[in-house]
Amino acid sequence: MSAHVVYLEQLPSLFEKWKEKFKLFVPQKKGDYYLLQEYERGQEICFDYDVIYNPIKSFLFPSYETLLDFDLKTYASKPVVDAEPQILFGIHPYDIKAINQLDQLMEMGSVDVNYRARRDKTVIMGLEPLRVAKTAFWSFMDAEKVDFGFDLFWTKIGPSAFVVEVGSVLGEELLFVNGKVDVATAAEKEVARRKHQEIVKKAKMQNVLKFPNTDIPKVMAKSFNSYVWIEKSRKCLSCGSCNFICPTCYCFDIQDEVDDLLKKGKRYRTWDGCMLRSFASIAGGHNFRKQVFERYRHRYMRKGRYIYDLLGELGCVGCGRCIQSCPARIANPLEIFNFLWEDVSYEK
């Protein structure tokens, strides 16, 4: 698709125009962290953030979501599918990859209507990273670049200019709301390409995966009985932080809630995590993953093997959020992958 050039001073008027029809979320700085928050006029936008603290999935798959309303007397029930048009601005490629993966998983078998409705009303505007988070290793997880999944993709090529790649018709329409913008010249596109190479090079310098990521599923398949699971999970608090901040985790629980008069109620779903103690327990008390290490292992298997078996791509995009948020510092997919690879190679 085509690429255009947009200047920084054009942004506020674009944003104002978009805000008429969409809720607009942009990366903002909060203390030492970055959050994707709603844009207010005149607000500063962090183009050089390293990683958004809150996982992007929360905009498509909120932590609490009503599925249906019911009436306790008549037993009538009707679905609740709420979705507001929104623009997520400034999403890094690895997060877009995570969204693409969620799209596919939510579509498989039975379509998740609530997710789909939200996704259909969401415009995704990618952004080339300018910095790499300390814990990130996305450059080793095939997540440094995405070919689809965005409506516009922005690359900052100078202090006040962007090359904007168009990814969809809607994206183009949004880009032209204030009239057409210049088409990017070959030179400008070249700068954008170099910016991309630069940041990938930078990302490759740190947190190195020591083997091709295509080997991860094989390594994981051989490591089900590795001692690393028990060893590492000794410190696990079963708090689920790694699940909840993960952009590709999507497990949920379904619960009922009734009003104070006990007449009407709603059924809602809320995030759940496989690291939590009773995640796999059934009525009668049997827990299929009673031990911490079993749950700890399941999460890595899911990221490194099971998702791969389903989709042919890894369930981890290397954003590094879990490494950052695990209080015990034991959630580190990179470390686990590297360790297991060495372990498996040694045994051979």
Partner: protein, 255 residues
Amino acid sequence: MSKPKVAFFDFAGCEGDQLQIANLEERLLDIASHLEIVNFREVKTEQADNYDIAFIEGSITRPEDEKRLKKIRKQAKMLIAMGACATIGGINCLKNFLGKQEYTSLVYGPYARHYSTYATRPVRAVVPVDGEIHGCPIDKEEFVLVVKSLLLGKIYIPPDYPVCVECKKAGNICQLEQGRLCLGMITRAGCKATCISAGSVCWGCRGPVPGANLDAARQVIDEHGFSWLEAEDRFRLYLGYFLRLQGWVYEQETT
């Protein structure tokens, strides 16, 4: 079906939990429409001794309390402990770490010998309980949830996962990561991470989560640069009773 009769009783505590219920204001009327409240000091004056559901607030700190509690247990079809003092012993357990002479003289001075008192314990250590509403003070939403569950015949099971879960769902930035001592990782959830969302840290008022890995928590706190003493002080504030139990009794009872 006649309305279940509900009574509130308090032991050693500040009555802050009953106040939380009174804070429900108009909503209390909706909820009370399914109940007959016969004994509720914070809201009404008249009292009766005929009740089905007893809510107990406060911890057991004197031998006399035990007698009274057992009598309530006998009368009530259902007994629900409410608030940190009642469910986990709460702050009152701080005295368990002092000698009896020490704390009685600290509190009562020269009159210490006139007061009978012993190590603080939660309600469940004295009589069987049918339900627990954790928190200091309790979350009024959770109280409403428990009452509604009772009315619907649903078993209310308080969350068996730590506060981190609800904190992440609320979209907060981890306090521990920002260099503050937060006990969310071992504390039972259900509060919707209120304190952290409001900018504070978790103090552990809802007690340890079932299966809490206290050893790991100590190590984690240590690695985050807090001293052993700091951590132990924070633990003692609300988890005192369980530090003494070393967790295992609690674990057995809740699984």
